[in-house]
């Protein structure tokens, strides 16, 4: 009992191990999330492109019968009477 060596302090290795494990798992989860997000964006864009193109026919407004042009008489154009 008296000759037993003291337990070595290896806590720094333990911390390093757990930090590495959590970082690697975190990076993998982040990569899954990012790939999923990018694919969803691609999907949305492709679905938009795949939509059938609706031809917008612009209806021409019916031409109204032309009114006989009359000279507009404005106050300015009116000659002052002497």
């Amino acid at each position: 009992m008296f000759f037993q060596e003291p337990t070595p302090d290896t806590s720094s290795y333990m911390i390093a191990g757990y930090v590495v494990a959590f970082i690697v798992m975190g990076l993998y989860v982040a990569s899954l999330y990012l790939r999923n997000r990018n694919l969803n964006r691609d999907m949305a864009m492709l679905e938009e492109m795949d939509k059938p193109v609706v031809k917008m026919e612009l209806k021409q407004p019916k031409k109204k019968p032309a009114k006989p042009q009359t000279k507009s008489v404005t106050k300015r154009g009116r000659k002052k009477r002497p």
Partner: protein, 232 residues
């Protein structure tokens, strides 16, 4: 875009919880090993990730057979998911083992049979993704991948049994003792409880990540199909 199933959402939450509990048990509840000190606590995550990764590699070999029989690309996507998650877990195993080895063996790395077979396994599956990247035709890629993963699957049991078949310094903590092992130890009841909980936790986390990765593969497939439709 398919919404995430409720079961998967619940599994996501459970995975985070069990990971937190496993870390708490390993860091706080488990007793300190007298010879190695605190570094022995990485053992719980080391074995937990190794267990799930090796099972994942073997499972991917089974999926290879299913794909080769059915020729359904769905099985190829599931196989890719299994291998990717296993690769990440096995990387954690190797790094944790190396960190543990520094104070226990006085070196970061040695070409011991277990470490060598583990490295070969990891490299085999990295090469699997490189092989797939080089093939454009989906059917051909899946066929080559399946055959490769089937052969690669042999490396997983070899890695597992390496410490039982060869003369090695890697400890055999479960199911035997190794007189050559440097850093071997016997587990107390508390340690065993934490150890089995860690195995359970990493199994749950693996299933959760695996499911999420399968969904990602399905989405990728949908995008590819849509791209072809738009281009055509």
């Amino acid at each position: 875009m398919r919404p995430k199933p409720m079961t998967l959402k619940i599994l996501d939450v459970i995975s985070i919880l069990v990971l937190g509990i496993a870390a708490y048990l390993a860091l706080v509840v488990a007793p300190t090993e007298l010879v190695m000190g605190d570094v022995q606590r990485v053992f719980y995550f080391h074995v937990g990730t190794a267990w799930t990764a090796l099972l994942g590699f073997i499972f991917s070999a089974v999926l290879s057979v299913i794909y080769l029989v059915t020729k359904d690309l769905k099985w190829d996507r599931i196989q890719v998911a299994a291998i990717e998650v296993s690769l990440v877990f096995f990387f954690i195993t190797i790094v944790l083992g190396s960190i543990w080895a520094r104070p226990a063996w006085n070196t970061w790395w040695t070409w011991d049979p277990r470490l060598t077979t583990a490295t070969i396994t990891e490299l085999i599956y990295i090469a699997y993704f490189m092989l797939r990247q080089g093939i454009d035709d989906p059917d051909r890629r899946a066929r080559f991948g399946a055959v490769y993963a089937l052969l690669g699957g042999i490396s997983a049991p070899i890695t597992f049994f390496a410490i039982r078949l060869f003369r090695t310094i890697h400890p055999v903590v479960i199911g035997g003792s190794n007189v050559n092992a440097e850093g071997g130890f016997s587990m107390t009841a508390d340690m065993l409880g934490v150890f089995f909980f860690a195995l359970f936790a990493f199994t749950v986390i693996f299933i959760d990540l695996f499911w999420n990765r399968i969904r990602l593969g399905d989405l990728q497939e949908q995008v590819e199909q849509l791209k072809l439709k738009v281009a055509g």
